[in-house]
Symmetry: none
């Protein structure tokens, strides 16, 4: 599967090129192309900002214009916030990366154009793309910069690869108490509470016991936590007994 | 529906507080809380960086510690990249904001903790949360800063309100022409049309060319269709030439 290329069109500040490289690498993307950067290439400020992601810049392709930068692409997205008069499909980042994945899985090359910081892509650039990607930002406050836009596109690419939900993985690694241990803990508490006259009045007692059992199960206690609860209860019982003596 | 509160815990640089405010407002989120900021409060650097999002800072709640900042919350997420020894569910931003939406719809108050720039949240902070949120970044290059983390969480909150029409099917299987072939086809037509005096009057010419280029890109022509268009154009040219003889 060929990853999409993130194509920075006439980027102005080296810092932003570096930030885009970091944003990409955060999500495992490494194919960067740069079209006619304002301050020439290579750019020391880009390298400084990229830090650990510097190798993206080393391997970035440098192109004089957009047509040559996208020549080998099968499909091109243009990221832009502003509405355009051009007739062109407009998709969300989510949909765009869904499309990109489907195409990449079939061996297609996908490019994503990012405009210069101040003005964004020109109509001439957008006209060359197959579709427009727009992040659904607050219309009263749209202020995404180059690095943020690359971050969101990279995030969407990566998000759609996550197959096992992390919460399941976290669950699987945890050493939960076995059900029988939870049952014994519930018994231990019920015994003590019974002795202390907790389940009162009698007609509510059954429901109180049920709610307690339900709570112990819901808590997802670990093996160690079950022992801690036993210990706490024993300690309190010992203390009360000692005070009573 | 009460929006989730983004709670910045012991933030260090004012610029990052401002960046977080901008990230939030991009996605229509306005409830910020700040816990024990290193450089005091208000912070002029935060205000300068926030620019249009300054009113978030004006209305941000200032708290001495995490327990008081989350006191009125019904459910709290802790954002953290590092694995923890704490037994706690770990969810993706997607799942977290899905949960947050469901809870907010029932009138619950949700808080999201963001740690200080350098070290992230302390275990003591994470222990107070109901669940951990981790952005699934490249394990070999996890470098999200405070503003980026707030941006992704805000994006997920907003994303789940947007519904998009599906038009993916077939895209991946289609043998689209490469961009360079589309470019050559556009050149071919433009040449012929130019020679035929099509781009008239001169002051409309540039826009006509732009619209044509846009059309060629938008058509999503297949490889075969591009050849067909070339063939049609050549055939017409041959016929005209023959008639002229």
């Amino acid at each position: 599967m060929i990853q999409p290329a993130f194509i920075l069109v006439r980027p102005q500040m080296g810092e932003n090129i570096g930030a885009a490289a970091r944003a990409m690498l955060n999500f495992g993307l490494t194919r960067m192309r740069i079209v006619d950067p304002r301050d020439g290439w290579p750019n020391p400020k880009a390298v400084a900002m990229a830090s650990g992601a510097g190798r993206l810049l080393d391997h970035a392709g440098l192109f004089p214009d957009v047509p040559t930068a996208i020549a080998d692409c099968d499909y091109v997205f243009a990221t832009t916030a502003r509405g355009r008069e051009l007739v062109k499909p407009v998709v969300t980042p989510e949909r765009a990366m869904e499309m990109a994945r489907a195409m990449a899985a079939e061996g297609k090359k996908v490019g994503v154009l990012f405009g210069p910081e101040r003005a964004g892509l020109e109509n001439e650039d957008v006209a060359l793309a197959n579709a427009i990607v727009t992040v659904p930002v607050n219309p009263e406050f749209p202020s995404l910069n180059l690095g943020q836009c690359a971050l969101l596109m990279g995030y969407e690419w990566q998000r759609q690869t996550v197959t096992t939900a992390p919460e399941i993985m976290g669950l699987a690694r945890t050493d939960f108490a076995q059900r029988v241990d939870v049952e014994r803990l519930a018994d231990h508490f019920e015994e003590r509470l019974d002795a202390a006259g907790f389940f009162f009045p009698p007609d509510k007692s059954e429901n109180m016991r049920l709610n307690l059992r339900n709570m112990w199960a819901r808590l997802n206690l670990t093996r160690a936590e079950v022992q801690t609860f036993h210990g706490m209860l024993r300690q309190i019982a010992w203390m009360l007994k000692k005070q009573g003596e």
